[in-house]
Assembly symmetry: C2
Homo-oligomer: 610 residues x 2
């Protein structure tokens, strides 16, 4: 009997503690009500402070529309990877120093106004954000319908509710809530399919730069002197004008983060940016146009950028479409060594203006020294101290003397901040540029995804010379994905195959061994309308097996590469058990600057060897 | 020679000092640029701080459009006369503790966003603001064009750019930059004349309150179940929805203020509110609709409210139109005595929720005790100390014991804060309610103005029972004004004549003498379509002379008063040398509750005496 009582008591305590562990706070108790159209910022700040007093709080937004204006928003200086330094950033919802917090938005509609960052999660652990749509009434990108074209003019219809504009000096400048910015770039989308047609990518308005805008009537603008390429009548131009300055959701110096069931219809820069964070899980976290608003534009730039993270990054069931840059980019940031300032000390520099000012290293981090020309890792080290000197420069002190042979211009990457990555069941719709970029030495699985990318579906780069996006691949499985015909319909940087493995190595011939390693491409379906299905440079251990390549005749081939599988500086390549269907172009393996013996092409596939 | 040199030197010094006295600061040096569409608030704050370091600074805005959002705006608690207590107020441009400052906006267009107060001047001396237009892209009042009406419906066209709306529970709610508010009141304006037609004032939508809105298409709303009065097709309804919460220009505890060449096309409450300030000069300071935007709406409520000021208030060359309340209202605020708390101490209360919380008295102020029922001033006193206890209550300590016979419910007014007033050459266009309200014991001249008021052109009230707007008139000259036919086409509170002298005296028969004194109405032209040209209650010394009354047939007479000059409880009235033209109605003097001998009607005017 006593035992039963104790058990009951323990159960009761456990239950009570479980209850305490999920204390619910509603924003409604802090004056924030759905559909009120009032600025929710200050009330949400108060609600978050109340959550701070609870353990593992659940913050609830009753379902409805919430509006966020910059008034009362915290402004903080953040150096966000692959974004412009327009500091301070305006943080609509700032979640800082929380351990255990769930924000459930009940499928509410969050509408933002002006240049701001919807969610910022800094120095947190165990934070979940779920069930919300993120959008702007007046987005930071515009769109225009092509209603008419002539030899030297293009007429665009612009929704002046969502994209008010002015014409200044004959040029269109969009004006919004606290900003004005001139139209400078375009991507063309087909009206029905929302795909970027061939030629509709970068350069789709080539030859029209000297246009002179005339307002025929409010919302209808004629571009005179547009003698260049014409977008198709009825199609839509996404009209880029502003800078990438705020992420949609920024995760910084945090751990164990979940973003679930989020529709980010728009944002002012990268959709989700996780930076120097650990264990990030995106599930049904979409960045795509808002169908209710007839939009062709969606996120402003990349969909999800995973920059210098570690632990496990899992991206599942997400859809990306109509982005103005790559849907997913997982990478580290390599930096340049300027000079040795002491026996164990280096002056280093961030080399890309959009990836600078970051807290790049911390005591104990494992770093690799990379020879600049051949991209070879020639030594490792351990960080003792990191000190930022400016937004571009920092001083790095090591546990031991810097390695022999180090030269100015060599690079370092931080291996500690290299995640394992699983990307499953995602849809990579038609976006500017490529589909998925991954450069990390962690274990990578890319499985069961569908690609309709405008450029390459998957790009494996890695460089210490241009973008300084680091991470040599060590273990990557690309399996069971479908690459649909739109893949590679347009050319962007490094797009040399539906899968393009394209590290930037100034002198690959000097490298003692290939840069990437152990990449298996298995059981995928490629709907290829053009020759290059695969381009791979500097890979040791590359398997292309059990894939199904189907010829698509939906588009005209145009690529300068006239081979199906293109290899360069690779070792240990196997092409096995693939199946070709239809008039697949090339049906061959082409090699450059490598030995024929490095390639095994199994017979019976209908693929000719090098 | 020496003398010449000294003179030259002195001239030079004087000149140099004059130069120093006008140091120019440009907002452009603080990152505020015209037409940038960026929020000017923070930059203007910095520019003002720079002005603080100069003597008599001139702050210049290069000509163009400037936008102001609430972000970075100072928020301050202000109890603004005749406004709602929605504190804190959001102050776009806050000018605080300046002695000598001129802001020249170079005829720029200032555009505000959301509920905010464009200019706030607090505890300043010698401040001039000039050459600016003030407007909102999304105003805080809406308008709708009546495009069709039927027996039980009204179709309204609403410009959804400037007045976005939602329909909730069948009702129209306007949504703006940080607010949503439901339509609750209307005034009808003629499309061509911008006049309020007869019946178009308060109650113009009588019988339609139970409407059910249906959006026929975006921007076109049918009000079903609108079985009441129908506004005329083609006319515009100004649709009131929000509260009067921020003035356009708020002048508080300041001195020697000039507002010149300002077009206030809109604001969120009273246009100009001067409160406990001294010497205020408005010259070409208009509150009227923005013609460039096709607007029928203008300011939100009163045009200029002069509340508890002193010194000279001069309002010249100003135009008021399409306001939702009186163009000008000059008054004090009387308060109720709750009880005597010590021999020389009183607990007092602000009695109107919209005029409360003010710093009502200061040491040395001369106050008058008013018997509540007959409004008779029965004693005077001097303030020793004032202490606010809450927004409604304050403790007043006097230099001497409180007077004998004082009773709870009696009132006090502050005579020290009673200005002289000159209102010249102004145009009082068609607005809701009356034209000019003045109640002050100071010297008043109302000269050379044109009135097209919807209700009474001039209302002289004064009460300590309802609005608690105090100030018995002692010396008023109304000369050379033109009262056009639209005057008195609609009924509003206290509208008993084109000039209506209507103090609120619960028991006038108990008053030892009339409330107002010495009012001369001379050399004016009245275009009267109805009987009551003048209604005067409780005036001692009233002259109506050399006026020209012309019968207008533009509107149908309707007023319940069927006499031309209506007198009640008046003494020493003279009606002399007036000229009647056309079929002027009434042509008589009618008296009530007073002696015939108190009125002299000179012969030869065609006006019959009482």
């Amino acid at each position: 009997m006593k035992k039963v009582l104790i058990t009951l008591l323990m159960f009761h305590l456990t239950f009570a503690s479980a209850c305490a562990a999920a204390e619910t706070v509603s924003v409604a108790d802090f004056g924030v009500h759905p559909n009120s159209r009032r600025n929710a910022v200050a009330g949400v700040q108060k609600a978050l402070e109340a959550c701070r007093r609870a353990e593992n709080a659940l913050l609830v937004f009753p379902k409805g529309r919430y509006d966020f204006w910059p008034q009362h928003a915290r402004e903080k200086v953040y150096y966000e990877s692959n974004s412009y330094d327009n500091n301070p950033k305006t943080c609509a919802i700032l979640i800082e120093n929380f351990k255990g917090l769930t924000i459930d938005c009940s499928n509410s509609e969050f509408v933002f106004h002006g240049r701001m960052q919807p969610f910022t999660v800094e120095r947190c652990e165990r934070v979940t954000i779920r069930n919300v749509t993120i959008d702007w009434d007046i987005p930071l990108t515009a769109q225009g319908e092509v209603v008419e074209t002539g030899d030297d003019y293009i007429d665009l219809r612009i929704n002046t509710f969502e994209s008010p504009y002015v014409i200044e000096d004959g040029k269109i400048a969009f004006v919004g809530e606290g900003w004005k910015s001139r139209w400078w770039g375009s991507i063309e989308f087909e009206a029905q399919t929302h795909l970027i047609p061939p030629g509709g990518g970068d350069g789709c308005m080539r030859g029209n730069r000297d246009y002179r805008a005339e307002e025929l009537k409010r919302g209808l603008v004629r571009l005179h002197n547009a003698t260049g390429r014409k977008p198709a009548r009825g199609n839509f131009l996404v009209m880029r004008h502003s800078s990438r300055d705020h992420a949609g959701i920024f995760l910084l110096h945090s751990k164990d983060l979940v973003l679930r069931n989020i529709d980010m219809f728009h944002c002012g820069g990268l959709g989700v940016l996780a930076q120097f964070s650990e264990n990030v899980h995106l599930d049904r976290c979409h960045v795509r146009p808002n169908p209710a608003k007839g939009r062709y534009l969606s996120g402003h730039d990349d969909g999800a950028q995973i920059s210098n993270c570690r632990g496990m990054v899992r991206i599942e069931n997400c859809e990306f479409a109509a982005l103005m840059d790559d849907p997913i980019n997982v990478h580290g940031t390599s930096v340049r060594i300027i000079r040795k300032t002491a026996s164990n000390q280096l002056l280093c520099r961030f080399m890309h203006s959009m990836s600078a000012g970051m807290q790049w290293g911390r005591k104990g981090d494992n770093i690799a020294f990379i020879e600049n020309e051949n991209m070879h890792t020639f030594a490792h080290g351990t960080v003792h101290a990191f000190r930022l000197l400016s937004t571009t420069d920092f001083e790095l002190t090591l546990d031991a003397p810097v390695p022999e042979g180090l030269e100015e211009g060599d690079a370092i990457e931080n291996l500690t901040w290299s995640p394992d990555v699983e990307i499953r069941n995602c849809k990579f719709g038609s976006c500017r540029a490529r589909g998925l970029l991954v450069t990390t030495p962690g274990r990578v699985v890319i499985e069961g995804n569908v690609f309709e990318s405008s450029g390459s579906a998957i790009l494996i780069s890695g460089d210490a010379n241009g973008w300084y996006e680091s991470g040599a691949v060590r273990d990557m499985l690309i399996r069971g994905n479908t690459f649909k015909a739109p893949c590679m319909t347009n050319m962007y940087q490094f797009c040399d195959g539906i899968i393009s493995i394209f590290p930037i190595i100034p002198a690959p011939e000097k490298a003692p061994e290939p840069f990437h390693r152990n990449i298996r491409i298995e059981e995928n379906v490629f709907h290829a309308f053009d020759y290059p299905v695969l381009y791979a440079k500097s890979v040791k251990g590359l398997t292309f097996s059990n894939n199904h390549i189907v010829r698509s005749t939906r588009y005209q081939p145009y690529h300068r590469r006239k081979h199906m599988l293109n290899l360069e500086y690779c070792q240990h390549v196997k092409v096995v058990a693939n199946r070709l269907e239809g008039d697949v172009l090339g049906r061959d393996v082409h090699i450059e600057r490598m030995e024929t013996t490095e390639v095994t092409v199994a017979p019976g596939q209908g693929i000719s060897g090098p």
